[in-house]
Symmetry: none
Subunit: 201 residues, 3 copies
């Protein structure tokens, strides 16, 4: 026999609205991380705004500001959601990235943050077993990021099935061994609207 | 056969209103960068203002403040636009400079920032394949900048056809080899109104 | 034939209201600088105030605050202007000192700043080819400054004809060689009202 096995389970078996799985990468290797967003009350004479926790560096904090602007615009854009909602005007958002003691930085959670905010605003979870990575620009362009190999290894280890990657990382992906690619369904995107379709439809 | 080709494409094939191509320069060489501006909601008891992201240094942040003052004045100036609009009074503006992890500083994006703000305010894209560089003064004077050679090499590499440069950089341009100058149409300007005419007409 | 000549021209051939030529001095020598002031909109629940750009040090920022107090008082003083205007109550002022990447500090632009603010408030340009230097006290006294020799050399190089200096610098001026003094008309002042008369009358 031997010792019982306690598998290190995913933090979320099912992600609720506002929670999205991202992929991170450091010199120590790749890992998964969750972006969690929750609405918080705010004073009457102040509207909108973000509260950020999770030991985020300056670039990641700016990335959250950019994600909020993109999510607001996307929510109102007549070409896409065109929702008659003032969710982000009426609510401040608390965005957290567990685990709280681990320093995190960089722009590559931009796409994940936009999706977390939109998921919260429309009250819908995203497709399960989906992870994503990509820098977001203010107009919704998805820019390439580093560590594709390490991120995909971490995604497989965590049981992820679907991964959204920036189109600008296609050549990085092409160079990978099949042992890494096998079992992962990859979607390459260059605009946020493509992320939205994959995540929510 | 061989490896598939994944061309590194321009981030924008067509720039929408608010997005302008600038030219930057560091010890590592020249590069292109986009200035992106988007209107954001704001509280009722506060009007106007800028939110800045993109790891901008202090001089570049001040440059954005100067650009906002210049754009506001230009929008109302009876000699030029004379538009009956309170766009900048009713909207706060989020101005971002991708990529988010790259530190940027210096005053040479001033002219590009004014153009980004005006493009957003009037809802019109600028001429395509156009890039620009130049410091802006508070009254709309265009001042010379560094790195003309490196910036023009980067512009050509990116497929730019038209470049706006400060008049004060004419001698720098004159000293360049024809191999750099060929294929680029250069306009030298000393006042912002000249930039406006080239970009929007 | 030979290389074409691109003369390094003055930034302003004619200074509009709000723009005044000052004289600066560092360990590297003297130089001219422009103080530029422009009115900017402000929220309804906030009146007056200054926005400062141009990489100004703390002393120079305080100097701008002093200049605003002096300019406000001068505008309403029945002994001088006695103008029935609430220009500084209705407008915030953006004051900038090009070039944006050059750090500047010290109190010696005080007199120039007061003149820039008053020029803007009354909508009149100052006498052309005029430059000035001097620290200002809160009651309008003009105090002596450093670098008179270097500042006058820079003024001549820039084509300046008239220079306003603090009375407290008369001995510094007296010690200069005639080759520096020739061609410059100097006015020594100890009160701001004397600066006003020379600049606007």
């Amino acid at each position: 026999v031997g010792k019982p096995v306690f598998p290190s389970e995913r933090m979320y078996q099912l992600t609720p609205p506002g929670v999205i799985l991202g992929l991170a990468w450091t010199a120590m290797g790749g890992s998964t991380l969750y972006i969690e967003s929750v609405p918080i009350n705010q004073s009457k004479d102040r509207v909108g705004g973000l509260q950020l926790t999770g030991k985020l560096g300056d670039v990641m904090k700016e990335s959250a500001q950019i994600a909020l602007t993109v999510a607001k615009g996307f929510l109102h854009d007549p070409a896409y959601l065109s929702m008659d909602t003032d969710f982000f005007e009426k609510n401040a958002i608390h965005l957290h990235v567990p685990e709280g003691a681990t320093p995190k930085d960089g722009p590559s959670a931009g796409v994940t943050m936009v999706t977390s905010l939109l998921s919260l605003a429309i009250g819908r979870s995203v497709k399960q077993d989906l992870a994503m990575t990509g820098e977001i620009s203010l107009t919704g362009k998805v820019l390439p990021v580093g560590g594709i190999k390490e991120k995909l290894i971490a995604a497989k280890r965590e049981g992820v099935k679907y991964v959204i990657l920036p189109s600008g990382n296609q050549s990085d992906y092409h160079d990978l061994a099949n042992s890494i690619k096998d079992g992962l369904e990859i979607s390459f995107v260059s605009e946020y609207r493509e992320v939205y379709r994959i995540a929510f439809e």
